[in-house]
Symmetry: C2
Subunit: 362 residues, 2 copies
Amino acid sequence: MARQGLYDRLPSPPVTPGMECSGVVEAVGEEVTERKVGDRVMVINRCGLWQEVAVVPATHTFLIPEGMGFEEAAALPVNYITAYMMLFDFGNLRPNQSVLVHAAAGGVGIAATQLCNTVKDVTVFGTASASKHETISQGGVTHPIDYRTKDYVEEVRKISPKGMDIILDPLGGSDTHKAYNLLKPMGKLITYGTSNMLAGQKKNLLAVAKNWYHQFSIHTLSLIQGNKSVCGFHLGYLDGEMELISQAMDIILDLYKQGKVKPRIDSTWHLEQVGDAMRKMQERNNIGKVILTTEPMPEEEKKEEPKKEDKKEDKKKDDKKKDDKKKDDGKKEEKKDDKKKEEPKKEEKKEEEKKEEPKEEK
Amino acid sequence: MARQGLYDRLPSPPVTPGMECSGVVEAVGEEVTERKVGDRVMVINRCGLWQEVAVVPATHTFLIPEGMGFEEAAALPVNYITAYMMLFDFGNLRPNQSVLVHAAAGGVGIAATQLCNTVKDVTVFGTASASKHETISQGGVTHPIDYRTKDYVEEVRKISPKGMDIILDPLGGSDTHKAYNLLKPMGKLITYGTSNMLAGQKKNLLAVAKNWYHQFSIHTLSLIQGNKSVCGFHLGYLDGEMELISQAMDIILDLYKQGKVKPRIDSTWHLEQVGDAMRKMQERNNIGKVILTTEPMPEEEKKEEPKKEDKKEDKKKDDKKKDDKKKDDGKKEEKKDDKKKEEPKKEEKKEEEKKEEPKEEK
């Protein structure tokens, strides 16, 4: 989405994309007490994480639980927090409900399916191309629907004539209209993207125009008469709410420890192969997360590692580093972050720093 | 709202208003097993309950718990179910959150305040005219706001600069816009009325036009960028969902038994004084429910009682009654209800039947 120009929280280019990563803390800011050098952490940030080293506020880091590798840790934050907050905050998902998950083989789709399965007797309808149905069924989708050959609205109605309790909509445009009409009374439509604005390789102006034309706009009287809810979600606009995000993350990591959720890695690529990695996603050939790593890639082996860090360091060291830091374009981000008190400082020991980095799916 | 022509689920006049009442079951339909003659019940229905005797589907009745009088029982269903479903289904209210309740001295407002207070550390902002502030404070409103002399948006921002987690909006029009802007990230705006369409004694065409002009309409991209939710609720459009309503009622009655919620009765009037009763509400002089009763009103004493009934009766009796039944205009309702299998039949023993009946506040 960022890469395709549909995410307006990105500084103007040159800019480093990347909303999440994992790694090891190499240094921490003066007032940071909750992270220390050497901590294994996963990170979310507005952007700037496709790098070997990154500087982020300490509040944007989460300790990686024991037993979780760096790849999983890099694949987890954005998708799972997004799916969690949509389903359990806006969606208020409860037992016996039904959920329609579009792009059920995508990152958010897989996370949402797993999270749905943590609630008793929830029925998951998932759209994906036929070749991915076996995988998503194993992942917990009750009714896979091939959106390429069938009308998903009809398919859903055949099985659940009254419609859905919750619909997660990454599509936008006319699909949002369809979703709205497919809601049961007290149903919640949660829209979190506009992938219908994309066509082929990049942002498609005709598709954007068409999408604006079909842009979903709803009157409150219609909501009242239908007893419906329409919500919008994007984690990128929620960076002022780290407390909410933290609460969600605590619960997600608990579920991970219980074996109830597990990020699915599609493939891991070296940072230099980023073009191929993106192409794979663009062509919708991935099932799960596409990971970027800074480790050498010896065919099979996929290693991963550190990146940024926190914890009290001595003041002088920090000051020195500040001057060292204005080099690559990821640093633009830092200057903004400097305003934040808790921001961890980065050490420039590049030899020790490696990072792996997934990108968001839309 | 019904009386003022803003509720389109009402059959065209002549029609009997009344969405809720309480009383004693006088007869039940053939297949009804869960209610029996003599049961004390409260009732919700699309309309038709301002009568001495009424016929409703058995599923629209709820047993009155021990210790609850008929007045309280008649005051409870619509307001509490409305407030409950808004706060706990759409609103997903949780500890430490903040809620703005408009018309906090009204029926839904009082119910919402009490329900907010069942959750730990919830802060309630309530609008009402100054003369009602003491009462609503005692009822659990943390911050009463006089909407007549102050800008409620400013008042809320003074205390809670980030805004509200949940806003219950019975006003519509430009107040819905204000509410939307007053939401925190992940906030929920729940609109459930259009009282701004009223001005003075009845539906005001200028006010309606103005309201349509200011009609709140929201684009999904704005929802996404704000991480917000907009919901619409009206119990009158939810009559196909008695299971959901029943679940809510079970919880509400549990809270009643625990002493955590208690309907507030403003005053009780004889059915023949309906004009005066309506005037009191219209002039916003009531705090809590205005109840209509069919009992004689000996100054102080406010009695109340039966009305409709359920439970297996012998077939012949039912058939006979069907012919007797097409008399007063409340019966229009019945013909529609006849489609429903579980519908209880009414006995024509008027001497035994009395009913009390509150009306909805909007």
